[in-house]
Amino acid sequence: MKLSIERGILLRALSSAQAIVESRNVIPILSNLLFTANDDSVTIRTTDLQLDFTEVIPAEVKQKGSTTMPATMLSDIVRKLPDGGVVSFNADPKDGRMAIHCGRSDFSLPTFPDADFPDAQKVEYSANFSISAPILNRLFVKSRFAMSTEETRYYLNGVCMHIAETETGHVLRCIATDGHRLALVETEAPADAIDMPKVIIPRKAVHEIVRLSEDDDTTVAVSISDTVVRFATSSITLTSRTVEGVFPDYTKVIPDNNTRKLEVDAKDFARAIDRVSTVSSEKTRAVKLQIDQDQMVMSVNAPESGIGEEALAVAYSDEPMTIGFNARFLFDIASQVDKANATVMLNTPDDPTLIHEGDDQSAIYVVMPMRV
């Protein structure tokens, strides 16, 4: 194998690829990346056996071939090489090493045979559709904060994606919950997506999908099967196994009889929570909301760390009430709101509270109150 790649292009591909590789990996082959030279491009693949990343980058290939190299080390080397250089690779089949040359620098890295690298599984997908990157990005960015980290309830360690039928037609929905809060984000379903199975996409894949869809101008090709999901742009393909288990019936959790409506400037709300919660105790992080006519006083009273209070102008015309929340949960939600206003729908201090963005119902958040 013999080829050369522009350093900038290679570096960008390597830093994305390297994110998949587990840093504390005990299995040597999994800390390697698969490096395959095709006609006029190079395919870089990394995997942690759950999530599989493939990127194709242009290269000047003199001799085709395939091998594996330590991902982190290669990425470190390329990062430190001078800008604007061309990196050339030359595999020596005799001693199984890869010679890397750029400008006046020379390196030689150990390789493992590509046959040991996990196979890219051939999967039959039951739905294939394409979706614009910003829309896909929104689905996952706005829901991912609510994913659980609890190992015992593994089916909550991800975002559930499925097609739901609403009054306005089919929607593509992403839901995440950890039992204390829930985020539900939806968008009009692409026509080809109607038959897709309900899947739970694991945490690590969710973060990578967000990263993949950050570019505004691209379209992402999505393929879904019961066991595997794939998200692909023109150069990058992400394939992930789905989470085993059944996602709980979340519709029961979303309240529909919350009538007390409170509107607040989302940015101010988020900043105020952040400020007051500075003194909240690490363990409970409780914040008390005293809501009155057009005013809300947020207060934290933690005996060991201090007292914090802030008043905020809101639009509220119902009966006065006092309700408590975990400041962290409330802050996470408030930070998700892009619209100017956050609409908080309250019931009693013991019932779940519903929050959405302005009058937009396509992203809703539910948070359980705390006794304060």
Partner: protein, 382 residues
């Protein structure tokens, strides 16, 4: 690779011998192979298998072959594959098969090995910890992407501490779909009874002399004569792993030296004792000392056996039968030797733990044994 390529310690492998996942064929365990295959053919593949038998007789090798077999075909096709394998009477698959290669490299998504891992300080842990077992939550938490079995090997289940065993119990009680968990246990009675009761037992037997010779050749040893094989079977109680150590690390020679020394009992032959000390300590590696105590343990248990059962044991060294007969003539003597073996065992364990000077430890041990021999002699004369 699972076979540590970077020199890091691999807890589940006899030093110098090929790793069980790289062993091409399993010798002398047709019965166990047939039992397992039959369970698939009958459509009763249990999710938990407890593979028992002495150390080094091929439990891990069989476990890897079962893994390769289960992962090599789809869930729907497994019954047919098992029927074919049952007819050809072997589970062994081609080691160059992609699945086998991936299992060996640790890159098979549907396979997981749970074994002792390195601690935060970089030392190999003495036990399998709860966190090691809990990694199975992540493993079973994701769907198998191509609808195959998901296979876990626990090597060795005896290494699990109580917390780890309880964590495993949870998995065994509510097995995930299409999961097969293979527990390798050298001493199954040390496991929690609740774990034992949830697993199907797969008993592997010690090897016959002819199988031993074949198995040793496979591990890369030069072909050996039948008599040597016989000796090795005697000394290793049919365990290839032990036999390999005996052969490779000079265990057979050591055994001969020990017999030579105890032949001089009840006298304490200073010259022979010092000679033995030199042999053990000249390589300056702790392994030799461990080997010495293992071999000595074999010698003492043979002494006890000779006394308790009477009759001659198959000879493992020249002048051995006479020596054994003279030193351990009756069951009473056998009891003394058994006690001595237990004492030596405790002594060596403490000695190795606190790092006593090996020469002193060996001499002290030999001296105690000479004393035991004197005691027996005195009783006999009375």
């Amino acid at each position: 690779m699972l076979i540590s390529s970077d020199g890091s310690p691999s807890p589940d492998c006899v030093p110098g011998a090929p790793h069980p996942c790289a062993t091409r064929s399993l010798v002398g365990q047709r019965g166990a192979e047939a039992t397992f295959l039959k369970s698939i053919v009958n459509g009763r593949l249990h999710h938990g298998w407890l593979m028992t038998g002495p150390k080094g007789i091929g439990k891990a090798t069989l476990a890897y072959q079962i893994s390769g077999f289960l992962l090599g075909s789809s869930i729907e096709g497994i019954a047919d594959a098992a029927a074919t394998a049952f007819e050809s009477r072997t589970l062994a698959s081609d080691p160059e098969h992609p699945v086998a290669r991936r299992i060996m490299a640790g890159s098979e998504a549907n396979f997981k090995l749970v074994t002792r891992t390195l601690t935060a300080t970089g030392r190999l842990s003495d036990v399998i910890r709860a966190d090691d077992v809990r990694s199975l939550h992540t493993f079973f938490g994701l769907k198998s992407q191509d609808r195959r079995y998901r296979v876990v090997i626990i090597d060795a289940a005896d290494d699990m501490n109580v917390q780890a065993a309880n964590a495993l119990l949870k998995v065994l009680e509510e097995p995930p779909s299409n999961a097969v968990i293979l527990l390798i246990a050298h001493q199954p009675f040390r496991l929690l009874p609740t774990i034992r009761s949830r697993c199907r037992l797969l008993r592997l037997l010690p090897l016959e002399p002819s199988d031993m010779a074949r198995a040793l050749v496979q591990t890369g040893v030069d072909p050996i004569e039948d008599t040597t094989a016989q000796i090795l079977v005697e000394l290793s109680s049919g365990s290839v792993g032990t036999a390999f150590r005996m052969l490779n690390a000079g265990g057979v020679e050591l055994y001969k030296k020990i017999i030579e020394l105890i032949a001089s009992f009840p006298q304490f032959n200073r010259q022979l004792a010092l000679d033995l000390v030199n042999t053990v300590t000249e390589k300056k590696s702790g392994d030799q000392l461990v080997l010495f105590f293992d071999v000595l343990d074999i010698a003492l248990s043979r002494l006890a056996r000779r006394g308790a059962l009477g009759g001659a044991l198959p000879s493992a060294a020249s002048q051995e039968p006479d020596t054994l007969a003279r030193l351990s003539p009756d069951p009473q003597a056998a009891r003394h030797w058994a006690d001595a073996a237990a004492q030596v065992n405790a002594l060596s364990r403490t000695g190795l733990e606190v790092n006593i000077d090996p020469s002193a430890l060996i001499l002290d041990t030999i001296f105690r044994l000479a004393q035991t021999s004197k005691k027996i002699e005195a009783l006999r004369l009375k």
